[in-house]
């Protein structure tokens, strides 16, 4: 365990590199926990053997590391073609008007017949695209977690998660999982590269253009949403620009939009007039705004601080922020350079930094699985349901500001949820049966969002049902269409849901393949005390108190009926899991 008391407090704020003689297993473990998602002792020992400079280099310059074969995302094929532009909420009303006028919308051909619900196929399709995309995004999230679990380049994924929170984009508005996937590709491509490439990339990113209303940012009608967030949330922070800077920056980005699903610059919609941003005047294009932003005094400190808070600790002095910003600026905004300097610094290994960070929900889940030696994200407990209950659902940040993190991850409920997450990973048979209707239950087992979403609607009594729930119960029977309506929303939700069932691939709800006895045998643990020490070393980054350790050893001794571990005993695995559940319930386990 880390946090050895001998580390001098003077290391705090000291950016000079840690001496190679001070390198240790615990410090390597701290590095892997922060620059990745932690790992099994074997991985940590590898880093410990490399020495600090080589270990940090391997993690930060991950392009040089040969990776394991990463699985491609196994798409369900919910859209009819790669070019298909799926409907968003704001298109619904227009689609119905278009269909009434032209007999076609979103690829659905309609035949107008009097006194029938002739628009129904379109409404069915609108809901199908919404539900199936939500389901597919759930699969994307699980696939992302799978990458985090098996990669040999953990910082690549950890940085992608950082940029996902920084350039937060909500699937619910974008409604196209392919664009969300492409955005994650951008985060991986430039994650440790130049911030300029990232910022420019995000300004041209189809998901972001939709999310921040970039499509409606046109000459004569600049949409300030885009300009505002680029300055406020993505680069400078509040107070470092004026309202006029926002308007003028938005003008520079006018015409940056989409042609189908691809980025394009529509010259006729671009405002070619003179703009004034940060006191500079010129006929700026978006690209030049990005450069002006990078030259702004507030940019490097803003980005350096945010990266530092994600990787090291919540609080940092103004002096340290200034020096970090200097590193970033001198290295022309190359993220790898800043991170290399941080991960090598004495500050990173000072008592203020070690085991003082609260794991994010995604980190908690992925690192638990890594430390258990798993090679596959378990299907049950469901990854998305778990992280959502803990306050972090991938591809669904709470808003454009992303997750606040830090102490906001934790309240009494989420603390209990975290402890129960550990319980249900170790004892999947104990996952409580939801006190809800059978249809909800099916949704929970399969773990696909549309089921749950529709279950929620049906539960509230305002939408239709699923096949295994009676029509009467759902209220559907009491809401027949009226004779003269051209479509019925309830029927649309129902039909859209059923088609989603038919198309969406199902990720099997397999529990984790855990072998604690095997792990302990490999560690050479032959008695209760050794078992506790082995698990603490594997799972905890904060030291286990002597009295707490004594309690845990006594607990295992009682359960085993003696000091020695009998690897042939049939109940051994269960007793070890009870012990591990206790270890993972400790407040210490929430610390990275």
């Amino acid at each position: 365990m880390s946090a050895d008391v001998t580390t001098p407090a003077s290391w705090q704020d000291d950016l000079s590199p840690i001496p190679p003689g001070q390198w240790s297993y615990d410090r390597a473990a701290h590095l892997l926990e922060r620059a990745g998602f932690g790992g099994a002792p074997e991985e940590i020992e590898e880093l410990a053997a490399l020495g600090p400079a080589a270990a940090v280099r391997r993690l930060v310059h991950y392009q040089q590391v040969a990776n394991v074969a990463m699985p491609e995302f196994d798409a369900s094929g919910i859209f009819p073609s790669p070019d298909f532009v799926p409907p968003r909420q704001e298109n619904f009303a227009q689609a119905l008007r278009d269909a009434a006028a032209t007999g076609e919308a979103f690829g659905v051909k309609l035949e107008r017949t009097p006194d029938t619900a002739w628009l129904q196929p379109l409404v069915n399709a609108l809901y199908y695209y919404r539900f199936s995309n939500n389901g597919e995004i759930g699969r994307v999230a699980r696939w992302l977690a799978q990458r985090m679990l098996i990669t040999r380049r953990p910082l690549e994924e950890k940085l992608a998660l950082f940029w996902h929170g920084h350039f937060a984009t909500e699937n619910d508005k974008v409604r196209d999982y392919r664009k969300i996937l492409a955005q994650w590709d951008l985060f991986r491509l430039h994650g440790n590269g130049s911030f300029r490439d990232l910022l420019l990339g995000i300004c041209r990113d189809p998901a972001m253009l939709i999310y921040l209303d970039g499509l409606s940012n046109v000459k004569g009608h600049p949409n300030e949403n885009f300009g505002r967030e680029i300055l406020e949330l993505f680069s400078l922070g509040v107070g470092n620009y004026t309202e006029s800077d926002i308007r003028e920056a938005a003008r520079a980005f006018t015409g940056w939009g989409l042609d189908g699903n691809r980025f394009t610059r529509r010259a006729e919609q671009h405002d070619t007039g003179e703009k004034g941003v940060f006191g500079r005047k010129g006929n700026f294009d978006g690209e030049q705004i990005v450069d002006l932003v990078l030259e702004h005094n507030a940019c490097a400190p803003f980005i350096a601080r945010k990266l530092y808070r994600y990787f090291v600790r919540e609080e940092l002095s103004l002096g340290l922020e200034k020096r970090l910003a200097g590193v970033l600026r001198r290295n022309r905004y190359r993220i790898a350079a800043l991170l290399e300097s941080i991960f090598l610094s004495k500050d990173f290994y000072s008592p203020a930094s070690v085991a003082t960070q609260i794991k994010s929900p995604v980190h908690l889940a992925v690192s638990t699985y890594r430390k258990l030696g798993l090679r596959e994200i378990p299907g049950t407990p469901n990854f998305n349901a778990t992280t959502k209950a803990l306050g972090q659902q991938l591809c669904a940040p709470p808003n454009v500001a992303g997750w606040k993190g830090g102490s906001t991850w934790i309240n009494p409920s989420t603390m209990i949820e975290r402890q129960n997450f550990a319980r249900y990973v170790l004892f999947p048979g104990e996952i409580p049966v939801p006190a809800r209707r059978p249809m909800d239950f099916v949704g929970d087992i399969i773990g696909q969002q549309p089921y749950q979403q529709m279950a929620g609607m049906a539960r509230r009594g305002d939408y239709t049902s699923f096949p295994n729930m009676s029509m009467e119960e759902s209220g559907f029977a009491r809401r027949p269409g009226t004779a003269n309506e051209t479509y019925n929303v309830f029927r649309g939700v129902y039909n859209g849901g059923v088609r989603t069932f038919q198309v969406l691939k199902i990720d099997p709800p397999k529990p984790a393949a855990i072998d604690l006895a095997g792990l302990l045998r490999k560690d050479g643990a032959r008695n209760a005390a050794a078992a506790v020490d082995s698990l603490a070393r594997r799972f905890l980054r904060a030291p286990l108190g002597a009295a707490d350790r004594g309690d845990l050893v006594a607990f295992l001794r009682t359960r085993l009926g003696g000091e020695a571990i009998d690897f042939a005993a049939p109940s051994l695995e269960t007793q070890l899991r009870e012990l591990l559940h206790l270890v993972l319930s400790l407040p210490e386990y929430q610390l990275a």
Partner: protein, 425 residues
């Protein structure tokens, strides 16, 4: 805030509080059940005379989905209403009339009873500038109290941070499956639960007792994050037991109306009554009910929901009276937006803007507040133009009810109270 001498307080209420913590009578000292527990600090605040009204409780009720305000408080005296809603308008004969201009939906007899007792205030035309018609975004604005700007803490959370410098467990309780952004605070961890039986760490009893041993062990921590986590873990463990105990043991003969999987407010308000009865040191309860997104077939759906809401709140008030706490509790109810004035072709209504808010309680000066928006002068979307910023209602609850001196910092602006409690404090 002003330090008001004890003699100005109604003695009986404070006495109740002193003796009411889980029924344990006490003198001037801490109730035994809270000693060494995470609830201790919050419970202590009742016993100290630092606040003018430490006994007062605010219950926030959220109607999710965008309740149709025009069919809740019905402008039955206005022809335009009937013109724009040929299928959905409530007939004047059916309206529960409050005055010659407006009345309640016929299913809201519970609210009618509260109105007749002078305990219902209706604030009309509530909204915010540049209204957003997305459920998520608009609800976020109501939660943060900072429309059209990113903000990661909730208005209740920021209030708690500012009002109670010392973090304490249990000052805020959120009855919900997931914590609301509204109660997100920097320093005050809310208790969040829906099913008290899920708000519990799983594990067998022997294992649990060992866990509690470890948690109770006072170890000096240099690691401040760990200190924070241990505090939350203790709060979770303590409150988990007490919440379950309080809810399980609560018995009341008072009806809260229908209790089903769609009328969840009745069961949730009963949980609130149970915690109040058990003497929880909670000052703000946050609860809600969904299903108001009535794009189609609105009449049946809304009728049921409004009945559940009105019955549940009326039952809650009666129950509070029964347990002697009715003078200490005020309910504020809101929804993220109202709905479009004109009905759509599916016998429903689409997302709109301004909508009434409601304040209920024995200390409330019943009547209409705010101003009804014009049905003739709509915005370019055909929506109502708001007359009253919703943050004025928040300010009313914080200043006039809870006794928070100045809500400007919390609400990021100057929002004068409405005088709903004036002269009745």
């Amino acid at each position: 805030m002003a330090n008001i001498p004890t003699c100005r307080l109604r003695g009986s209420r404070r006495d109740f509080l002193r003796s009411g913590f889980f029924g344990v009578g006490i003198g001037a000292s801490m109730p035994l059940v809270f000693r060494h527990s995470a609830l201790e600090v919050a419970a202590q605040s009742f016993l100290e005379d630092k606040e003018a009204h430490p006994e007062r409780i605010l219950v926030v009720v959220e109607l999710a989905g965008g309740n149709d305000g025009l069919n809740t408080v019905i402008p039955y005296g206005n022809d335009t209403y009937y013109k724009l809603r040929p299928r959905l308008a409530i007939r004047a004969a059916d309206v529960l009339k409050l005055n010659p201009r407006a009345g309640l939906h016929p299913s809201m007899t519970g609210f009618r009873a509260l109105w007749d007792q002078g305990q219902l205030a209706i604030v009309e035309g509530c909204g915010y500038p540049n209204p957003n018609r997305s459920h998520f975004t608009s609800m976020e604005y109501w939660h943060t109290g900072v429309p059209n700007a990113p903000e990661s803490l909730g208005w209740v959370g920021r209030f708690a941070d500012s009002f109670w410098r010392q973090p304490a467990a249990g000052r805020i309780v959120n009855i919900a499956e997931r914590q609301s952004l509204a109660v997100q605070s920097d320093r005050h961890a809310p208790i969040v639960f829906s099913d008290p039986n899920r708000y519990v760490r799983a594990g067998d009893p022997a294992q649990e007792s060992l866990y509690r041993n470890i948690l109770e062990r006072d170890t000096v921590q240099a690691n401040r994050t760990l200190t924070f986590l241990r505090g939350i873990a203790r709060t979770a463990a303590d409150t988990s037991v007490k919440v379950r105990q309080a809810v399980r043991d609560y018995r009341t003969p008072v009806s809260y109306g229908s209790e089903s999987s769609v009328s969840t407010l009745s069961t949730d308000l009963k949980k609130v009554a149970a915690l109040i009865h058990a003497g929880f040191p909670t000052r703000i309860y946050y609860a809600g009910i969904g299903g108001f997104d009535t794009h189609a077939s609105q009449p049946g759906a809304q009728q049921g929901l409004l009945m559940y809401v009105a019955d549940a709140i009326e039952g809650f008030c009666k129950d509070l009276k029964r347990i002697g706490r009715s003078a200490d509790v005020a309910v504020m109810m809101f929804t993220e937006f109202g709905r479009r004035v004109a009905e759509n072709q599916s016998a429903g209504t689409d997302h709109g803007t301004a909508t009434p808010m409601y304040i209920v309680g024995e200390k409330v000066r019943g009547g209409f507040y705010g101003a009804h928006p014009s049905l003739e002068e709509l915005d370019s979307n055909g929506d109502l133009k708001m007359t009253t910023d919703f943050r004025r209602v928040y300010a009313t609850m914080l200043q006039e009810w809870i006794g928070y001196g100045d809500s400007r910092a919390v609400l990021r602006g100057d929002f004068p109270g409405l005088g709903v409690f004036a002269g009745r404090g």
